[in-house]
């Protein structure tokens, strides 16, 4: 279990990194914390001609308060978010989600941006970011662009990133102090990927409500708008409604999968409503 050979670059600026990607012409891959990519390289299920290690780019670790939003650098680690070192404008939700991602030693290296770009369907950040209404900042040879997290997440292990683009930051709207959230994850053991994830955010002061499910079974993060009305109105969605929303997203869920996703969603929505 040793990684195949690759060339290695360690740019110190975003511009350099983007140039390296362009030069790699599709054969170059970004290495962030490497906590998913390196295991896949070791298993030889991922390959790259060139790894562009963005660990030396200080700008990617910056967190800037923009007033109503905060721009979190893509290179901020899970552990930084767990410890609240970047400030908490989300009523503790980021720390809560971060705390249950893998293990501390992984969280010390793994990054928010890396997790979003890797787009594992069972990962936490894609679900949490969608639930918080994040937008992502991308840099490419033609400059920057922003995408809503729903548009960034395309499919299992697939994002809207072009091969010469990189994720530089995540812009998160702040939650009002009165906002409520719930994040429910059913997993086989501590630190494991979720078998079913439900994230619910309700921020009445901003008129913002999101219900998001995630997991491999549902093919990654998915917003269940049909359930958001009930949360917004403070009522409890019927079990049949929850199941119908899930079935619409993923008709092939088996009975077990349906049950665990519906349960996580119901409990999350109830927690937000109570």
């Amino acid at each position: 279990m040793k990684a195949p050979a690759f060339a290695y670059l360690r740019p110190v600026s975003i511009a350099e990194a983007v140039a390296a990607l362009a030069e790699g012409a599709g054969g170059a891959r970004i290495l962030a914390g490497g906590q998913s990519l390196v295991p896949m390289l070791n298993l030889r299920v991922a390959f790259a001609e060139t790894l562009v290690d963005i660990g030396a780019i200080a700008d990617l670790r910056a967190v800037s308060d923009e007033g109503e939003t905060v721009l979190i650098g893509a290179g901020v680690t899970h552990a930084t978010l767990e410890d609240g070192a970047s400030g908490d404008h989300w009523c503790g939700m980021l720390a809560f989600v971060a705390r249950d991602i893998a293990y501390r030693a992984v969280r010390n290296r793994g990054t928010l941006g890396g997790s979003l770009c890797h787009a594992d369907p069972a990962a936490d950040w894609p679900v949490a970011m969608m639930a918080l209404g994040a937008t992502v900042q991308l840099a490419g040879p033609d400059g920057e662009r922003a995408l809503a997290s729903e548009d960034f997440s395309v499919d299992v292990f697939t994002t809207a990133l072009e091969e010469d683009e990189m994720l530089t930051g995540i812009r998160l709207p702040k939650l009002s102090p009165s906002a409520r959230w719930s994040y429910r994850k059913m997993r086989k053991k501590a630190g494991a990927f979720g078998e079913a994830i439900a994230a619910v955010v309700h921020d009445p002061a901003r008129g913002f409500t999101r219900v998001v499910a995630g997991s491999s079974a549902v093919g990654g993060p998915c917003r269940l708008e049909a359930l958001e009305g009930a949360v917004a109105s403070g009522s409890l969605a019927a079990e049949a409604t929850i199941r119908a929303a899930l079935a619409e997203r993923e008709p092939d869920l088996d009975r077990y999968e349906m049950q665990i996703h519906a349960t996580c969603l119901r409990r999350a929505m109830k927690e937000v409503s109570s």
Binding site: K2, K188, A190, G191, A192, I260
Partner: protein
């Protein structure tokens, strides 16, 4: 008891090097010009090898079975009538029979480059139909794993004590089908081997991460056609074994052969992917159990069919039938049952060969028996503990001859269960709508330190005989003990020193225990079957006895009395009017020979002692376990809230280490109960190939296990010890599933398979819901 002898919780002598990262494991050994191995393994579960395309410049860097001329494939032996056996070939010749079987061996200066090379070896495989389960293998017209057998049934055994009379008296019949999944053993250090040829000694030296150096040497001699004196096998520090390292691995043969052929060091280190695929080889049993009981739940007869999913080959030395033989021999467990009928079927499938994992087969047998006892209790409407107490062999019946023919030597089984119940009842847990609470029990008895008679009956090449230990008094009176068992976590460098201390009164800090090296230690079949403290402990005591006698003779001569007048007390040789230390006696023999008569000088202070229990009888350890769990009935998740084990391994040489053995066994058993499984699809593809899919419980999943001990001395063993290495792993699958079923009683669900994953738990609940709905429908 001395404060450093038998019964002392002495801190371990091995800890210091491990705590400083100074252990030396196989991967830590480096040799000049060493080559690393990567294997090309079969991606298919069953295929014909049409050809193997090697990269052009491969030369002496890629080898296949066709290169291994003159190497004899190892073939285990068996006395079971009609047992069809095929040993594991080192590399597949013309056919592969499981995913992960070795097709080619690639060598390079490091592992990464060896893997690069392996990627460029292209096997041309023609797919053959696969049997990946018992059902598929036993179906009418099933594809055959070994065409010349004409069947996939490798071994079948039957035992029948006669049960008609008991069946006629029984008023209750309870039948269940119970499944235990296939597991990987997962020692944290993978398997590995490093071989080189030592021209000066004229020896092939094989470093192997093994539990049984002499056994590996036996096997390598057979395969390579060498004399025993021409091979030295050394086990360095071994990072966990659990049975995985008690068998011959084909990789060991390949590495040894390559070192001879290339005349340079060759090393293979198993990685985790290899382990979880090619090494997914443990536990897979299915039981069809019927209890015939009276209306109090007294079990009168047990009627069982046991089928093992045994994989494609027979491992050496145990064969593929070891699980079935062990399980059928202990299935009635600690109970007094008058009638027993069992049929076992060992079924070949396109999977890695079934191998003995900690407590070989007994976790499956205990799971089957103990969940059946709970089902009987439910059927007669009684408390499962009460039903057990009514069925357990009472203390007064010891020694007890079981219906299986085994003799249980000593103990009080009901008392252990009562204690476990009292302990678990003392702590309560709060239930809630998402949290159903249940308590489950399991009791087992365990044949430890397997006897020579038992092994010779089965006929496998693993004959324990008399275990040997050497005690070498050094010129300064310090002591070196040499043993052929291999300590890989059990702390034998400490416990065997304690036994020497018990006999000689010597400070364990002045004792070194050397083990795991055929060049140093007397012959031994190694560490397995919870045997080391019984067998090797006894042998060390026997050697120490011999040494003590010699030291007393020396002292007697110096004190002008008879040896009978000299006592050994706390390292002192005490005569009627004088005393001397062991050190002084050692110094006299080595440096003042003119002070001693010739007959005391002649044989020296280096002795070997041999031991087996009185009459070659095995001590039976036992325990009662209790688990308390919380089940989320909507998610199917299970949390073990409390776990209690009350065991009896006779005299405890080092109680701290005994606790450690039980705790570690229980944690592995909880893994079997709730987490660990390598599922295979119907094409024989393993579906859990990383720790992402194969869940090994961590501290987060294992509660702070609570222990209590009973201490009934075995009448047959030195110091009254019984084995304890494996027992902890036996009961948890049964206790945990009984606890889950207790928690689910309101739902009507009953789980009959492990691991009890959320999917299995919810499926049991769905089935109960469907049954209830069906009944409602029928009533309408």
């Amino acid at each position: 008891m001395t404060d450093t002898g038998v019964g002392a919780s002495l801190p371990r002598k091995e800890d210091d090097r491990f705590l400083h990262g100074r252990g030396r494991y196989l991967a830590d050994i480096e040799m000049p010009r060493m080559l690393d191995v990567a294997f090309v393994r079969s991606p298919l579960a069953h295929a014909e090898i049409v050809g193997i395309e090697k990269p052009e410049e491969a030369g002496e860097r890629v080898f296949t079975a066709r290169d291994m001329d003159g190497v004899v494939p190892i073939r285990p032996t068996s006395n079971v009538a009609g047992h069809r056996i095929v040993g594991s070939p080192p590399m597949a010749f013309d056919r592969v029979r499981f995913v992960g079987e070795i097709i080619a061996t690639c060598l390079a200066p490091n592992r990464a480059q060896a893997e690069d090379l392996a990627e460029r070896v292209v096997p041309d495989l023609k797919e053959l139909p696969v049997v990946a389960s018992i059902d598929a293998a036993m179906a009418e017209g099933a594809p055959l794993v070994h065409a010349d057998w004409g069947t996939n049934l490798s071994m079948e055994t039957r035992f029948d004590s006669g049960i008609e009379e008991q069946v006629a008296r029984a008023t209750v019949q309870v039948t269940r089908t119970l499944d235990m999944a296939r597991q990987a053993m997962v020692p944290l250090e993978g398997k590995g081997a490093l071989a080189h040829y030592d021209a000066r000694d004229g020896q092939l030296v094989v470093y192997s991460s093994t539990q049984s150096p002499h056994m590996i040497r036996n096997a390598l001699c057979q395969c390579l056609g060498l004399q025993q004196r021409q091979i030295r096998v050394v086990a360095p520090d071994v990072g966990g074994g659990f049975g995985y390292k008690a068998i011959l691995h084909p990789e060991e043969v390949i590495v040894a052969w390559l070192a001879l052929r290339l005349k340079r060091p060759v090393r293979w280190l198993e990685d985790r992917f290899e382990h979880l695929t090619a090494g997914a080889n443990a536990r897979q049993h299915r039981y069809r159990m019927t209890a015939h009981a009276d209306d109090r739940g007294r079990i009168l007869a047990l009627d069982a069919v046991l089928t093992t999913d045994a994989g494609a080959y027979s491992i050496w030395p145990h064969t593929n039938g070891f699980d079935a033989i062990q399980a059928s021999g202990i299935l009635t467990g600690p109970y007094d049952i008058g009638g027993y009928r069992v049929r076992t079927m060992t079924v070949a499938t396109n999977k890695p060969p079934l191998s003995p994992y900690r407590a070989v087969a007994r976790p499956g047998a205990c799971f089957a028996m103990e969940t059946l006892v709970d089902a009987v209790a439910r059927a007669v409407g009684r408390d499962p503990v009460e039903v057990r107490l009514e069925n357990l062999v009472p203390a007064a019946a010891m020694p007890y001859k079981a219906i299986t023919g085994k003799e249980y030597d000593s103990g009080d089984y009901p008392a252990s269960l009562r204690r476990a119940r009292a302990m678990v009842d003392a702590v309560s847990a709060d239930a809630g709508p998402d949290r159903l609470i249940g308590t489950g029990y399991a009791v087992y008895t365990e044949h430890t330190a397997v006897s020579t008679a038992t092994i010779s009956q089965i006929g496998v090449q693993m004959m324990p005989g008399f275990e040997q230990a050497a005690a070498l008094m050094q010129p300064d009176g310090s002591l070196e003990i040499r043993v052929g068992v291999q300590s890989h976590g059990q702390g034998m460098e400490t416990t065997l020193a304690q036994i020497a201390s018990e006999v000689l009164g010597i400070d364990p800090q002045r004792v070194s225990v050397r083990h795991g090296d055929t060049a140093l230690s007397p012959y031994s079949t190694g560490t397995y079957a919870s045997r080391a403290i019984v067998m090797t402990g006894g042998a060390v005591a026997a050697a120490a006895d011999k040494l003590a006698f010699k030291l007393r003779e020396i002292a007697a001569h110096m004190m002008q009395c008879t040896a009978d007048d000299v006592r050994l007390e706390a390292g002192e040789l005490v005569g009627p009017g004088a005393s001397m230390t062991i050190e002084e006696a050692a110094v006299i023999w080595h440096f003042r020979p003119f002070d001693l008569p010739e007959e005391l000088l002649r044989d020296g202070l280096e002795v070997t002692g041999g031991y087996r229990p009185d009459g070659d009888r095995a001590p039976f350890a036992y325990a009662a376990h209790a688990a308390r769990v919380a089940v989320d009935p909507e998610l199917g998740t299970v949390e073990v809230l409390d776990y209690v084990a009350v065991d009896d391994c006779g005299t405890r040489v080092n109680p701290m280490i005994v606790d450690g053995q039980v705790l570690g066994g229980v944690a592995q058993g909880i893994g079997t109960a709730l987490f660990e499984e390598v599922p295979f699809d119907d094409q024989g593809q393993p579906l859990a190939t990383t720790f992402g899919d194969y869940s090994v419980p961590a501290a987060s999943e294992i509660p702070m296990i609570r222990l209590d001990h009973m201490e009934t001395r075995s009448p047959y063993t030195r110091f009254g010890v019984k084995g304890v290495g494996e027992g902890g792993a036996i009961a948890p699958p049964a206790a945990v599933v009984n606890a889950i079923n207790d928690a689910l009683r309101s739902t009507g669900a009953e789980l009959c398979a492990v691991p009890a994953t959320p999917r299995r738990v919810l499926q049991a609940i769905f089935d109960a819901q469907d049954r209830a709905a069906g009944k409602k429908e029928a009533a309408r």
